[in-house]
Symmetry: C2
Subunit: 260 residues, 2 copies
């Protein structure tokens, strides 16, 4: 809380606004244009310093990261696991193809490390909100690059500098339910390092590195509810640290991870 | 997005506002009164349907969940671990006292199951923002009950029904950095179960249970930054499901948890 010269009290508020009414995205679509147009229909436009949060699904679709299950030939290993747990062997096969290591394979769950190092169920392969039941999406090949492209496109269209976060929805160890996480980022640092700063009593904060990009992803996810078809959220009012950080900074080094 | 009768477009927006300028909390303090007074100083007051997010630290302090390290007698086991990793043996002893099981004990980290079943580092014991370096806080004994008490107090003071979420800041497997999680809840359901509903193309959503309370906790945490001393956040605009749910619904059954 601070007072300006007139004595008016200003409060720190962060707002998350659903960008609604977007069409189903197809390969080759220009996401930036579609989002800017959708926002205009809601009477919204980007300001410098905004954050645009976009779910992985529409990025994958725009980038053509779609596979047809009818074209997948499952391996014997995929077939065995699928039979045991009543899964679609072709989906299991795609999960294995997208993985570099299996972290856990039990209870019908496949928790894997993806190529870039994300640990998640089913390598992020998703079967919802696609135009055909034969289709699934894979994660974007390089979500940081996708975020940067979207950021550049917004700058071109609107002349403002924003940050972009690409999210996906994952389960967690120890806790029930899914939340959203940052998978790609552009224009801001994903971590806020408070080490060396002091608390209110002057005690040094030793261990406090906040995953701010994951906090924003989770907050935006609250508005995205899969059934509602809201794939993008505008975040306004958060004073972030400009930067060219990568979402890969959010991946814990396997050597220091007690749960790999 | 929807249009009212006048044709005006309404947008779905959720706002998070920092409640600032609160005093350091002491045992016995009436948190509800202090928060309502702090909000009034910012020109804010509760509306029905608001969510109040409060960090564990001030709840623990108000409830007197404070221990003096000088009064702790560490066991031989605590001393051994502390020596190996240059820890304070008295803090290690308190962590063991607050735990019912150790999940991982390595790299100087103690990941434990607390009495109620939360899995987190150091049993949630916290050394920051206390009036003496001899003091630490323990987690509230029953965070759901603490949330309910705060909800009742706000109803008594302001005559409105709100939901309350009590949060703590934890690390995560696989990912760098801390985010905030829901530890106690009152007045709303912590999970939003979308199973059985359909996506935009009519495909049934099989696995989608969203941990909405954790999403809100993470979002509020973004405003709480430990160094800033903001222990409470007002959330407005999220249409939640009223309910008498417990945050314990967020604890994954050990038998189905692949990472216990």
């Amino acid at each position: 809380m601070s007072s300006d010269e007139s004595g008016k009290v200003s409060v720190r508020t962060v707002t998350y606004t659903a960008i609604e009414g977007l069409p189903l995205i197809r390969p080759g679509d220009n996401l930036g244009e579609i989002i800017v147009r959708g926002m205009a229909a809601q009477g919204l436009r980007f300001d410098s310093g905004d954050i645009l949060v976009v779910c992985q699904k529409i990025v994958s679709k725009a980038e053509g990261r779609i596979r047809r299950l009818s074209e997948v030939q499952p391996s014997a290993f995929a077939q065995k696991f699928a039979r045991q747990w009543q899964k679609d062997a072709r989906v299991v096969e795609l999960v294995l193809q997208e993985s570099r290591r299996i972290v856990r394979m039990d209870h019908g769950l496949l928790i894997v490390e993806t190529g870039p190092g994300w640990v998640c169920a089913n390598a992020g392969i998703d079967e919802s909100n696609l135009s055909s039941p034969d289709e699934v999406t894979l994660l974007p090949l390089d979500p940081d690059r996708s975020a940067q492209a979207l950021r550049n496109e917004i700058r071109r269209l609107c002349g403002v500098d924003i940050a972009v976060i690409i999210t996906d929805t994952f389960g967690r160890p120890w806790r029930v339910g899914l939340i959203d996480f940052c998978l790609g980022i552009a224009g801001m640092e994903p971590l806020l390092d408070l080490r060396g700063s002091r608390d209110l009593t002057g005690r040094e904060l030793h261990h406090t590195v906040m995953a701010v990009a994951d906090q924003i992803a989770a907050a935006a996810g609250l508005l995205m509810g899969k059934a509602d078809g809201i794939p993008a959220v505008l975040v306004r009012g958060y004073q972030y640290r400009f930067g060219s950080g990568s979402a890969k900074a959010l991946i814990r080094e396997p050597g220091t991870d007690l749960f790999r």
